[in-house]
């Protein structure tokens, strides 16, 4: 399992990376492994407001549909439309396949660094 050290993580298994004040958000390697093969991603629209700790979309795998929880509050600047045709990118390259970019970030959930997140995943089993 891969936990890049340059990212921050939420307890609900999303990762965040800041690029010039814009939050780039995806799901972790642990999350994609737990979900299994992802078959569909439900993305928000550009301009939508997202709230830290609340759902901004969902991913459907062969097992189940799961909410995507936003680690930050802000406004959606960009969505990764490639995922609509190639949701499997979330499995193949979870840290390359970002899901949304959020600007005007006003709030942030309590986020973990890579070591703390790895410990959190170990605890969840």
């Amino acid at each position: 399992m891969n936990y890049p050290v340059d990212l921050k993580y939420s307890k609900s298994h999303e990762w965040v990376r800041y690029e010039d004040g814009v939050a780039v958000i995806g799901i972790s390697d642990y999350a994609q492994d737990a979900l299994g093969d992802v078959v569909f991603v439900n993305l928000p629209a550009v301009g939508d407001e997202v709230t830290a700790g609340e759902s901004f979309g969902d991913v459907e795998s062969v097992k189940a549909v799961s909410d995507l929880i936003s680690p930050v509050s802000g406004v959606v600047l960009e969505v990764n439309e490639e995922l609509e045709d190639s949701p499997e990118n979330l499995n193949g390259d979870p840290y390359g396949a970002w899901i949304i970019k959020v600007e005007q970030v006003t709030d942030e959930e309590e986020l973990l660094d890579a070591a703390a997140y790895e410990a959190h995943c170990a605890e969840e089993g």
């Binding site: 737990a34 093969d37 569909f40 459907e60 062969v62 097992k63 189940a64 969840e124 089993g125």
Partner: protein
């Protein structure tokens, strides 16, 4: 095997229609199709063999053990089918004059009386076509109740995270915002979490009891009291009624409104696409909003489906209740619970129960540790069970348990079958430690091995394009 369309031969067929002995009338031009419908053309022999071949590829309750958790795959007595096949029921037309359908009305009245008695409700409709439709109808009753009182600020429905997926979907379809509350470590409703979200915007709570992990919520009276105190109503999802029917009544637990899956709990073979019946019952204060049946009184009430709903499913439910009787109904529930506990106890020591306690009609195994040890997943175990002639349990549900297998043996299985099933589970537990690769490739003897679920979900082909 070939699809029925692929077996079609132009010009082949059987003609059972008698010679026309009345004057032929042409349809108005606007109603005539431009192209004849493309229907398969086969002889009766071909059709008979086609469906018999399909039948061989299917695992039903009549073939063997079917412990598909949350689905109550019990054996349905033949007598229920026999009653539903009586010509007086099958040949009736919903618009027939009332004096010719008194028997059918009596069935509906009797079934309503019996089911209200079993559930502790005051009134019931049989219109909804199946469970999700029943939920939708039931939550609309709650909505109408608040609106009729001018209580327009109640826009939230509370749903525990262990609920069936249809619950939040229903609430959303009815225009509500869903408030999800986490389960306590024992799988039941977390009272503190519930108290936190209750308020003057609470329209209601949707709950299944016993819940989806097969545990009866001991705080149920306190839960419904708290919801009522906040001004909300309580909705009972009848999915798991099989565990408690005739023993404890949702009405006495404090629920205002329920739906029943008559096809599931009350003896219609299900899982094949219907028809079902999602009867909705309610307390007197909601009865005014209950959809009425045109067949019942012709008064032009609200309808959620045409006429009286799927009438023949109600005939089966009535027959089932009358044939089991006042003693038989609770006995069936007790045996369902006994069988689940027996099987859980026999499997324990190999696969681990997710909640190590007495269960109700079903139990969940948590294969997380097992998967870490062996690399064999819940899916691999499920697929291997197929080779043993057992229908796999429900997998990866409920979502609150990782690597879940959920078993519901039902009351219609003998102790011999349960002993055999436990033995098979023990065998697979050992096999996973000895030869995990074999299980990754299972099933080895089934007609279809591992369908490509991912490709099917990403690029579904839903109709024949020959």
């Amino acid at each position: 095997m070939k699809l029925i369309f692929e077996k079609s031969v132009p010009g082949r067929g059987m003609d059972y229609l008698p010679q026309c002995d009345v004057e032929a009338v042409a349809l108005p031009a606007g109603l005539v199709r431009d192209v004849a419908p493309r229907l398969p053309e086969l002889s009766e022999t071909d059709i008979s063999r086609h469906y018999t071949e399909l039948n061989k590829n299917v695992h039903g309750v009549n073939c063997g053990f079917y412990p598909l958790g949350s689905c109550t795959m019990k054996y349905n007595p033949r007598i229920d089918e026999e009653m539903a096949a009586l010509p007086g029921f099958t040949g009736v037309h919903p618009l027939a004059p009332a004096h010719t359908t008194a028997g059918c009305r009596e069935v509906l009245d009797t079934a309503r009386t019996l089911l209200c008695e079993i559930t502790g409700m005051d009134d019931m409709t049989f219109q909804p076509a199946a469970g999700a439709h029943g939920e939708f109808t039931g939550v609309l009753l709650i909505k109408q109740y608040h609106e009729a009182r001018g209580d327009s600020k109640r826009n939230k429905i509370i749903v525990p995270d262990s609920a069936h997926g249809t619950n939040p979907a229903t609430a959303a379809m009815c225009g509500y915002t869903i408030v999800n509350i986490p389960s306590a470590p024992n799988g039941c409703v977390d009272l503190e979490a519930l108290k936190k979200v209750l308020g003057e915007d609470t329209a209601g709570l949707m709950l299944t009891n016993p819940n989806t992990v097969g545990i009866f919520d001991e705080n149920i009276l306190e839960i419904t009291r708290l919801v009522h105190e906040a001004g909300g109503l309580c909705y009972y999802d009848g999915a798991n009624l099989n565990a408690v029917m005739g023993v404890v009544r949702p009405g006495d637990m404090g629920f205002d409104c329920i739906h029943l899956n008559l096809h599931k709990t009350f003896a219609t073979p299900h899982g094949g696409g219907g028809p079902g019946s999602g009867a909705v019952g309610c307390k007197a204060r909601l009865a005014a909003y209950l959809p009425g049946s045109a067949m019942m009184d012709g008064a032009g009430h609200i309808q959620v489906r045409s006429f009286a709903g799927n009438f023949l499913v109600v005939v089966k439910a009535m027959t089932y209740i009358l044939s089991l009787g006042r003693e038989g109904i609770p006995e069936a529930a007790q045996n369902a619970v006994l069988n689940a506990n027996y099987l859980q106890a026999k499997i324990k020591g190999t696969f681990e129960p997710a909640f190590d306690r007495i269960c109700m009609h079903e139990f969940v195994l948590d294969l997380s540790r097992f998967k870490k040890e062996t690399g064999v997943s819940a899916l691999d175990v499920a697929k291997t069970l197929i080779d043993y002639g057992m229908h796999p349990p429900t997998m990866y549900f409920p979502l609150i348990v990782h690597e879940a297998l959920m078993l519901e043996p039902t009351e219609t299985e003998s102790r011999d079958t349960l002993d055999w099933a436990a033995e098979v589970f023990r065998k697979l537990y050992d096999l996973a430690h000895e030869d995990p690769a074999y299980m990754h490739d299972s099933p080895h003897n089934a007609q279809i091995g591992r369908p490509d679920e991912v490709r099917a979900a990403r690029n579904p082909v839903l109709r024949w394009k020959g």
